[in-house]
Amino acid sequence: MRQFRAILKKDIVMELRTKEMLTSMGLYAVLVLVVYEIALSQAGSSFDILRIAAGLLWLAIIFTSLLGLNRSLVHEKDQGCLDALLLAPVDRPVIFFGKAIGNLIFLSVVEVIVLPLFYFFFLAGKPLGGPLWMLPLPLIVGSIGIAGVGTLLATMSVNTTGKDLILPVLFIPVMFPLLYASVAATSAVLIGDAGYVQVFWQAVTLGAGYDAIMILAAYGLYEFIIGA
């Protein structure tokens, strides 16, 4: 626990000092929203944005998270600090959880900034189908999976040449089930079609199951992957 806290605290202190990840992720997310706004500006008044809003939101989250995930391991690698971490008597899963929770915190901070912006850009004045309190659940489940699986894949790609390309190529196909579940759950709340509660819980359960399986796999594989 002491080692886990140390890794997490170090990542948070460094990020608060440099603001590299939060600035790049936040700016990127806002730019994506601006591009969406431009792309949808000519869609006309009959176009129902609620039907695609969840997809747009999750696309923004997925692409934004890629930026942060890449940076989280690259700054360890740059100064050989990853070796220093590996030389310490720390169980590898502790490193995994330290980095993953750090990534989850940074992603959550960005989501807290981006979500209100997304609402004002695209959803303001539109009647939501379901209650607002249901919205955070798919976001939490999705973000946990992104941070967990993303940390594992970022560790795999950090030692490769062309890591900026390798991470998305690995990440997006692996994330597909979670992305599908998160979009389905979020859409269910936003649109509120008949039976949306059942669809919502099915999707959230699918996402949570994916998180459990993938994080367990990451826990088991991390020693092998980080030492490779």
């Binding site: 002491r2 080692q3 806290r5 140390a6 890794i7 605290k9 170090k10 202190v13 460094m14 000092r17 440099t18 100064q79 050989g80 600090c81 070796d83 220093a84 971490l85 590996l86 030389l87 310490a88 008597p89 720390v90 169980d91 030492g227």
Partner: protein, 243 residues
């Protein structure tokens, strides 16, 4: 070999091999080093020196053979072994955005040290960086960073210290400081150092090893070394190139 002999050894390397694709970085390396010794490892670029240090320090696993450091197997006892080794590289292995003190605090937590503040203060004084303890490492000169790197590697009082070209990139003054720091702790640790500087390596060592193409070309105690023969062997191995 008896158990008593085994405990007297800092390193026991048996038929150690490591491959990267088709290339053999280490090819059947065997040697023993007593505790308290200072081993200098020489060889051309690509000879397998850094790979050997990485295997001995548990950063990478051997493909074949065994290696024990202080009687602990580098694969089976890796976590326990990491508590007993320190590593100084030409890379500082420090976080540039953290202060000197924060870096040492972080590593003290990773090594679960008791009373880390006392040890950190002691080490910062030893490496003459206590006046810069609150400054970010990125503002340090190369020599200062290397001194802090030494403090990091000594935090947990390791038995064996691995040095991967520690003098690389240092100016003469910083080299003198590093010399005196090593001299201060020389009696308390076993050292294994990779060096391209024949004179410096031989000056510090009690044992010398020349590695080429992943194989041991020469391994001798310092008192048995004829400097001319050694220098000639070294020159020939440098000409052998990489494995």
């Amino acid at each position: 070999m008896t158990d008593t002999q085994a405990t007297d050894l800092a390193l026991e390397v048996r038929d150690l091999s490591r491959t990267f694709g088709a290339r053999k970085a280490l090819d059947g390396v065997s040697f023993e080093l007593p505790r308290g010794a200072f081993l200098s490892i020489f060889g051309p670029n690509g000879a397998g020196k850094t790979t050997m240090l990485k295997v001995l320090s548990t950063l990478t696993s051997p493909a074949k053979g065994t290696a024990k450091v202080m009687g602990l197997d580098v694969v089976a006892d890796a976590v326990e072994l990491r508590e007993r080794i320190g590593f100084i590289s030409h890379n500082p292995l420090l976080y540039p955005d953290l202060t000197a003190e924060e870096n040492l605090q972080f590593f003290a937590e990773l090594y679960c040290l008791d009373e880390p503040e006392k040890r950190i203060k002691e080490l910062l004084q030893a490496v003459e960086l206590d006046h810069r303890r609150l400054d970010a490492v990125r503002t340090f000169s190369r020599g200062m960073t290397q001194r802090l790197s030494i403090a990091r590697s000594l935090l947990h009082k390791p038995d064996v210290i691995f040095l991967d070209e520690p003098y690389s990139g240092l100016d003469p003054h910083a080299m003198d400081i590093l010399d005196s720091l090593i001299a201060q702790v020389r009696d308390q640790h076993t050292f294994v150092m990779i060096s391209h500087d024949l004179q410096k390596g031989l000056e510090l060592c009690s044992h010398a090893l020349i590695l080429a193409k992943g194989k041991v070309v020469l391994f001798e105690e310092k008192e048995d070394i004829d400097p001319d023969v050694f220098a000639d062997t070294y020159r020939r191995t440098v000409g052998m190139g990489v494995s």
